[in-house]
Symmetry: C2
Subunit: 291 residues, 2 copies
């Protein structure tokens, strides 16, 4: 069994981006990071994004509207960033307060600056295999992890567990694309699937994104399969100072004995998302240098 | 074995639309049918659409630019139709001449008038389960055929053969949706799939859209499966006056002996497309009565 090291792959991507950005004379790509309120997880995510941007040599602009901001004011803020020629990418940190329609906010971001890939148009572009779009960071990170681990999906059967808009559906569409590295046969399973283990056992590559701690057990995996674990779940653990430990959607101790390659949690898909956000920002800059 | 009669289902939808349109006081929904050049198949398709529109009580406006029209002039024509408040739906008949970028033309149609469902935004809306979008006519017709034949996809395994933008991908996304009648587990297979028969044999519902005459044979189908044949292929047949006969992607004589329900070709999915185009036009009118 080979461990797919997300930290290492993410570091390689960040180093490549750093070299690419160093070669840009003049203005550097800029990402606007919008964080509403003080949710502790959001504070930490945005800090991480800011730090990685700085490491690469990107400009970042952190904007911190109060929790009480109205949807109209948040729209106005996004419109301003959409129109600002010195902003290349816009990230609105999820979750947003309940009085705000999150999907509407994501759609408000100009497709050309939608480095989070949540805009409807960018989702459609994945289906159309249109490379001018932005793929959301988790599915993009999964594809990059597979490619850089030497896993060619051509002729393989990819089984995706979970049909979310953020992971399951886009990664299924990516794996189906005709381009090199993809070209897989794809099955999407979910909570309503009948006889799930019989399907997951057919997977040459199993992508678990169902959001249930250690849901995928050894009996659900074909020996030799590549297993990508997208889940990040908190499981109570009195032995830890925090009172919990992080675990994926895969029961790592048993499945890792069967898999040919597997991502750990943490340290697998997780670190890739920030790297892909930065990659999208540099892409936005290249595609629309004067937007 | 039960034959799924597309002509009958299409006629029912047309009758429903006719009743709905009769109740509209004032302006009736209008579809603009743009046909470039004199391709015989296109002439016949557009004529059929015009006739069905008239039957329902829709206004249709047929526009016939010459084969020599430039892309810029075709764009200008579409922009004019996009801006015209008396036009609800716009259909640009495929195929377009080779000097014109077909995808660019389809994208030029306003998403709100894109009754053919080829605009990138409307494709994204299928993934997002956003009901304000337009689903392209063949996948929409397949879902309608299944629903009206009493086939509930919930908990079923749908295997889609073919990953085209017009059929395979949208129908896979539709079958995956959480709404009533859908909720299927979905596998998308294609020409690059390894051990295809082993996968198609798992299908509770098999949707064949691979564009190869009589490709699906009895050994590829599970007894009792529902089989939807999207293919329309011309096979040489010297016994016919035309010199050919039409056949689907399914070998009907053998597969129909196994299937619980099956669509014939012709008379299955085919007649549904025009009905769904009309349904989309009425929907466009309802969603944007004053556009």
């Amino acid at each position: 069994m080979e461990l797919i090291d997300g930290n290492q792959v993410a570091a390689a991507i960040i180093a490549e981006l750093k070299a690419e950005v160093a070669a840009f004379t003049g203005r550097k790509p800029c990402i606007a990071l919008v964080r509403v309120g003080e949710d502790p997880a959001s504070v930490s995510y945005v800090k991480k994004k800011e730090k990685t941007a700085a490491e690469i040599g990107l400009t970042s602009r952190v904007i911190l509207p109060p929790l009480s901001i109205s949807q109209a004011d948040l729209f106005a803020l996004i419109d301003q960033l959409n129109a600002d020629p010195t902003v290349d990418g816009i990230l609105v940190q999820s979750p947003l307060p309940k009085h705000i329609d999150e999907l509407a906010v994501f759609r408000r971001v100009s497709p050309a600056k939608d480095v989070d890939g949540f805009n409807t148009l960018n989702l459609g572009k994945i289906a159309q295999e249109d490379e001018t779009g932005f793929v959301s960071c988790t599915p993009a990170g999964i594809m990059e992890l597979l490619a850089r681990s030497g896993v060619d999906l051509k002729g393989k059967h990819v089984v995706v567990l979970g049909r979310s808009l953020i992971v399951g559906k886009p990664v299924a569409l990516l794996a189906l694309q005709k381009k090199a590295g993809a070209n897989a046969t794809v099955t999407v399973c979910h909570s309503g699937t009948t006889n799930l283990p019989a399907l997951t056992r057919q997977a040459d590559v199993l992508i678990a994104a169902i959001g249930r701690a250690e849901f995928v057990t050894a009996d659900m995996v074909k020996p030799g399969a590549v297993v990508i674990d997208v889940g990040i779940n908190r499981v109570p653990d009195p032995a830890r100072k925090t009172g919990y430990r992080l675990t994926g959607d895969v029961h790592f101790p048993s499945v890792s004995l069967l898999a040919s390659k597997i991502t750990p949690v943490p340290g697998g898909v997780g670190p890739m998302t920030v790297a892909m956000l930065m990659k999208n920002t540099v892409k936005a800059f290249r595609l629309h240098p004067a937007q």
